[in-house]
């Protein structure tokens, strides 16, 4: 199983831990973090696949900076749809991926650093679903030129 898929499984496991009892904040927060990293690792691993030198791909993937990924994603999110109608479906899917990345990154930051916030299962489930949907959407457009350009 791919690492990003393991992270989603792990997120679900943590979110459902102790059901039907009350969830622990530590489990919910780590679940949010896992959901974000699932999408992050999928996108960076996919980008690294294009690196010509196989032995360096893992190192290449580690060069992706969280802040820079947000900048790229925000740029994609705010871009108008292309004029060419043939490109619109890919652009819409890419926008969904980029929007989800920005949202999940914020959630992960709050989960990891904001101790004043109390998380609920519904909040966490929704974050996991968002990550899953974004990952599924990415897999449908990953070969398109627009998608290949996204993380850079």
């Amino acid at each position: 199983m791919a690492y990003h898929d393991e992270l989603i499984e792990h997120a679900v496991f943590l979110a459902e831990f102790n059901l039907p009892g009350q969830p622990k904040q530590a489990d919910l927060r780590r679940a949010v973090s896992a959901a974000y990293y699932a999408l992050f690792h999928l996108l960076t691993t996919e980008a690294a696949q294009n690196w010509k030198h196989f032995r360096q791909r893992d190192r290449f993937a580690r060069m992706f900076d969280h802040g820079r990924m947000k900048t790229c994603s925000s740029r994609v999110s705010s871009r108008p749809l292309p004029i060419d109608p043939a490109e619109i479906p890919v652009a819409r899917s890419l926008k969904l991926v980029a929007d989800s990345f920005v949202t999940l990154q914020s959630a992960r930051h709050r989960a990891d650093y904001d101790n004043s916030e109390v998380w609920s299962r519904t909040q966490v489930y929704e974050a996991i679903i968002e990550a899953q949907d974004a990952m599924t959407e990415w897999m449908t457009i990953r070969e398109a030129a627009m998608a290949q350009d996204y993380p850079f």
């Binding site: 802040g67 949202t103 914020s106 959630a107 109390v118 609920s120 519904t122 909040q123 489930y125 929704e126």
Partner: protein, 107 residues
Amino acid sequence: MAYLPRGVAQPTELVKHLNPLDPLLAEAGAVKWRYTIDEDWSGDPAIFFWITLSDETADPRILGQTARRIKDLIYRQVDPQGQWGLIPYFNFRSQSEQAQLKDEAFG
């Protein structure tokens, strides 16, 4: 000159555009909702939506569908980023959870 997003510069206008969402979000399953405008974790201007769902529409089996519907309604009505310069963030909670947690953010 520093750039001020329209959502920060014209809050009254933003409220006028958000108000019509009330019945639409209620129909989609929101029993209560509110929003706050603030900077996000990296300092970008943002609008945070805090949405309490009925227990039925918060059921994990349909939560994805519920959340997508609500987000689509908000994007179509307001287009937070395109029209107002605010990155939208959504937070969902079920009615039962909010009754227990009594989180001020959710109202």
